[in-house]
């Protein structure tokens, strides 16, 4: 009850869409733990965890964008494969030159 009073006194009025959802059983223990740690209601803890997840998803999308761009820069750079080629022997020699 003390915790609830604390939550009520510290929780800001939220704006935004109201919704009803079913909390997966697998989240229950983490939700309770987070609520205790924050001194918040489980609803607020759920929003907090959702925000963490949203931040992680945003970071992952940003990293994927960078890695895709850099991969394309690497794969797409260099000459077009239309010109003359060295012979297989020349190529092998170039690759193994430092092996002695």
């Amino acid at each position: 009850m003390a915790t609830k009073q604390k939550v009520r006194s510290t929780s800001a009025r939220r704006t935004g869409r109201r919704t009803t959802l079913r909390v997966p059983e697998t989240l229950e223990s983490e939700l309770s733990r987070t609520a205790r740690q924050l001194g918040a209601t489980e609803n607020e803890a759920l929003v907090y965890l959702a925000q963490l997840g949203a931040d992680a998803a945003k970071r992952r999308r940003a990293v994927e964008k960078v890695t895709a761009r850099r991969r394309q820069a690497l794969i797409g750079s260099g000459a077009a494969a239309t010109g003359e080629l060295p012979s297989p022997e020349e190529a092998r020699e170039a690759i193994l030159a430092e092996r002695g």
Binding site: I75, G78, A79, A80, A81, T82, G83, E84, L85, P86, S87, P88, E90, A91, R92, A94, I95, L96, A97, E98, R99, G100
Partner: protein, 170 residues
């Protein structure tokens, strides 16, 4: 499906029977495998020549497209393989004498040969941890590494070494 080391994979070329073999294997959904350090060695060998000879730049492009198309599968150097490679390098800091050495007395090998040795260590570690054999023309290096792995893990099977594929006749 064995992992091709650099001595074998250096034969990949649009006009080579090895490429034909690799293409057939890829079409059969069983692509041949390279360890990432082999890709590094091939890229270095071609790029170094590409500055002065555009033909090597063209071959580099072809090789890049080959990898991008998945004609050969590349095994990454995982942290586990890196860990094993470090242990192998500590136990065998230099390549065995004989084997690939022209004069058979390279007690203090040139830096380039040390780099090649480290590459072979990484290839061996990658292949062994993936449960694969190594396909190589350089039996000397990989026999030494198979022994080193056997010393470290006597309960496990050693790294197996298989010879390069034979070109098709006719």
């Amino acid at each position: 499906m064995a992992v091709w080391d650099t001595s074998v994979a250096s034969g990949l070329h649009p006009e080579s029977s090895l490429y034909e073999l690799a293409s057939e294997a890829a079409l059969a959904q069983e692509p041949f495998r390279l360890a990432a350090p082999t890709v590094h060695e091939i890229a270095f060998g071609l790029q170094r020549r590409a500055e002065a000879d555009a033909r090597f730049a063209t071959l580099f492009r072809w090789f890049t497209d080959l990898l991008d198309a998945g004609v050969v599968e590349v095994l990454p150097l995982s942290w586990e393989a890196a860990l094993l490679a470090g242990r192998l390098r500590a136990s065998r800091p230099t390549p065995p004498t004989g084997g690939h050495s022209r004069k058979g007395r390279s007690r203090d090998p040139k830096p380039e040969r040390r780099v090649a040795w480290i590459t072979d260590i990484q290839i061996a570690a990658t292949a062994w941890l993936a449960g694969e054999d190594v396909c190589t023309a350089d039996r000397g290096h990989f026999a030494a590494l198979s022994d080193a792995i056997g010393d470290l893990f006597p309960e496990e099977d050693r790294l197996q070494i298989v010879p390069p594929p034979q070109p098709k006749s006719g």
